[in-house]
């Protein structure tokens, strides 16, 4: 058997696992590993400018491809800088493996230079973690880490490796395990057939059904099956923020997003539904509003790979533990075999009702924002980008109003195209995530929709884009404020704008972009919007920072009434309530 050092073993194991890309940042405890990376071919390493960027880039890469994102950082500050990105991936169930260097084994616990207890720090935000004690363990730990990260409900896994374990002098026999047996980890596969049969009967009896699909359908590659099911039954579909693209956004059966900033038709249909089919969605509080007022007349079928997601906040009438793919497949087979269909006249009436809601307040039947003012509206900017990119771009986003406008107005027809931080809501996610997507899909159009607040949280990654020639479009909806915070202050704090504006301190983003070697473009007026966007999107080989000045007074609507509201209680504009 081949003899390898710990560092070489780690890199070889990553190769054997099929890793192509690592996002990372070196430092003392990781130097043996970095040297091993230098001496190999096969895996490409991208040097970011901040470890948070590395985690978000790996995350974006994972969301866009379905593969596990890989991060390499050093101990201490390198490891703690990665924490926000690990938490981001954890909350959205994204497969990621984070390798952190650690101080030498004999120094652990001595407050050694750049020592932090990474396993301890990351414990609440990882699916699992390993502290490697001997080089011989490396192949198996790597194999387990990737297996755990990518199966069941995916999530981040940390591998913390003391420096002595990777030292180049000691060599050990290397073999990558072919199979794994873990008696303590058996992710769910197929759902219970009896439960699926019950679910099918309930679906067939539905008069006012809604399919509520989430991130699990995107991550679990269940979109095609979901689409087939919805179209076969002619049921309306709504997606969570994480589920956008799971069902084609431009299809007539799509009601738009549901929840806090969901559409009137989606939230109202949910409220009046008699049967809800929840697929790979977790009844987040941004969706349900007040749990005991949630969909009072509905029977709930809940498909999720994680039993702990089921009946956590909303009790499921028909719980089904299994992967979306296997369960939806079995459901479809049963439906086809039974040849039964739901009561067609009831479904037609239900659609008539939904179309009426759409006509009244739907986001897609008429513009629900002012179009008579001088200032550009953020919604029209997103719609214009949708048009120019034929709805086919990968869109990453930061967090705030711009994120919600992107979610509402860029109608995603395909899964894995909408890449945003939903669960943690991490400002700073957008740009590094876009670079991760671009690294995975060099020929694709990648747009980062951001705000002048969020972009400054990981702006340093503009330099990574330069170094590796990752040309993305940065669309900054510049409202000169922490808009989402400001909206809440205007709605709930009588307009006291505590620390949500910058008082003329914003940088000139055009010059900033140019300083990093990119192109900058400013858009201020409606009549230049389409022309300038077309110009920007015609540029394929440079990163373009498009700074769009939008109406700072605009709010995101609909917005559910909180606290104590039900799903259908919404503000539809600054003055109009349901």
């Amino acid at each position: 058997m081949e003899l390898l050092s710990g560092g070489d073993m780690l890199v070889r194991a990553l190769q054997d696992e099929g890793v192509e890309l690592i996002f990372g940042y070196p430092g003392g405890s990781a130097l043996h590993i970095y040297d091993a990376i230098f001496r190999q071919k096969g895996i490409k390493h991208l040097l970011v400018r901040h470890e948070q960027g590395a985690t978000h880039s790996a995350d974006g890469y994972a969301r866009a491809t379905g593969k596990t994102g890989v991060v390499l950082v050093t101990s201490g500050p390198g490891a703690t800088n990665a924490i926000t990105g690990i938490a981001t991936a954890y909350m959205d169930s994204i497969p990621m493996v984070v390798i952190s260097g650690q101080v030498p084994s004999d120094k652990i616990g001595e407050d050694a230079f750049q020592e932090t207890d990474m396993v301890g720090c990351s414990r609440p935000i990882v699916k699992h973690s390993f502290l490697v004690k001997k080089a011989e363990e490396i192949p198996e730990v790597v194999k387990k880490a990737f297996y755990i990260a990518s199966t069941g409900r995916p999530g981040p896994v940390v591998i913390d490796i003391p420096k002595d374990v990777t030292n180049p002098v000691d060599r050990y026999p290397y073999a990558y395990p072919e199979k794994l047996r873990m008696r303590s980890y058996t992710p769910a596969g197929k759902g219970h057939t009896g439960q699926i049969r019950k679910a099918v009967a309930l679906l067939l009896s539905a008069k006012r059904p809604v399919i509520y699909a989430g991130g699990g359908v995107v991550q679990g590659d269940g979109s095609e099956l979901l689409t087939e099911l919805a179209q076969r039954l002619n049921f309306p579909v709504t997606n969570t923020l994480m589920g956008l693209g799971a069902y084609p956004g431009t299809d007539k059966r799509f009601l738009g997003m549901l929840g806090m900033h969901g559409t009137f038709e989606a939230n109202t249909a949910m409220h009046h539904a008699d049967v809800i089919l929840a697929v790979g969605a977790r009844f987040d509080d941004r969706v349900t509003n007040t749990p005991n007022k949630f969909c009072p007349g509905a029977k709930v079928i809940h498909i999720d790979v994680d039993p702990a997601s089921i009946s956590k906040t909303i009790t499921a009438d028909v719980p089904i533990v299994g992967t979306v793919q296997s369960v939806l497949k079995e459901m479809l087979e049963m439906l086809k075999a039974s040849k039964e269909m739901p009561d067609q006249s009831a479904i037609v009436d239900w659609w008539r009702q939904i179309d009426d809601w759409r006509e009244r307040h739907g986001l897609y039947t008429a513009p629900r924002y002012r179009t008579d003012g001088d200032m550009l509206m953020p919604q029209e900017v997103i719609s214009a980008v949708h048009q120019i990119t034929n709805g086919d771009a990968y869109v990453t986003s930061d967090v705030g109003q711009h994120q919600m406008f992107a979610a509402q107005y860029y109608l995603f027809d395909k899964p894995r195209r909408w890449i945003n931080s939903g669960g943690l809501g991490t400002m700073g996610f957008g740009l590094p995530a876009a670079l991760g997507v671009k690294a995975a899909h060099p020929d694709a159009e990648v747009v980062c929709v951001t705000g002048e607040g969020s972009i400054q949280m990981c702006i340093q990654e503009l330099s990574t884009a330069t170094q590796y020639n990752l040309p993305v479009k940065i669309l900054c909806l510049n409202n000169q404020a922490l808009g989402m915070v400001k909206q809440w202050q205007e709605m709930q704090y009588e307009g006291r704008l505590s620390n949500s504006v910058y008082e003329e301190s914003l940088p000139d983003f055009i010059k900033l972009a140019e300083a990093y070697g990119h192109l900058g473009m400013k858009i201020e007026h409606r009549d230049e919007l389409h022309g300038k966007l077309a110009e920007a999107f015609a540029i394929k080989d440079r990163t373009v920072f498009i700074d769009v000045y939008v109406d700072p007074s605009e709010h995101v609507y609909p917005m559910q009434v909180m606290p104590n509201g039900s799903m259908r209680d919404m503000w539809l504009s600054k003055t109009e309530r349901t």
Partner: protein, 163 residues
């Protein structure tokens, strides 16, 4: 309701902190906790008592099961079971008190395991309720120090928790 949850988990460093961390992270409370290796050195057995309604207990067991180190678990309170806790207590015992303490120890089938001229060290085992009752019988002013092991438990009959 009070529950006794018994967990078989990998005997790995970090496993215990993951269990404990889960409880604090999700706001579940732990009343008592005991852990030790089993006859199979690769496994530890952890027993914890907690309080919660059915919904909370369901979430606790689901989330425990999600921990990669947890191999198997059982809520002992769902069936008939034997529960035991060990109590060691130092009791002030001088003069007439000495006999009185000894009588209480006998009634609760405890043992005096150490003596000085001023005190007894007493060992009692049984359910937590019984230990509470014993401490109450001793009376606060005689008690100098109390150590309780936390609850251990095992199902009655042929049911076993193993892999």
């Amino acid at each position: 309701m009070r529950r006794i949850i018994s967990v078989l988990m990998e005997n790995e460093p970090g496993a215990l902190s993951r269990v404990v961390g889960l409880f604090s992270q999700r706001g579940y409370n732990i009343e008592s906790l005991t852990v030790a290796p089993t006859e199979d050195a690769t496994l530890s057995r952890l027993t914890l008592t907690t309080i919660g309604d059915d919904h909370k207990i369901e979430q606790i067991t689901k989330n425990l099961n999600k921990l990669i180190d947890v191999v198997k678990l059982v809520d002992l309170t769902e069936g008939s079971h034997i529960e035991r806790e060990l109590l060691l207590v130092k009791v002030r015992a001088t003069g007439a008190q000495r006999d009185e303490v000894k009588r209480s120890v006998d009634i609760f089938r405890g043992q005096i395991v150490d003596v000085t001229s001023n005190m007894y060290t007493v060992q009692v085992s049984g359910t937590s309720e019984k230990l509470d009752a014993f401490l109450q019988a001793l009376g606060e002013h005689t008690i100098m120090e109390v150590v309780r092991s936390g609850v251990s438990g095992i199902a009655r009959g042929e049911k076993i928790l193993s892999i």
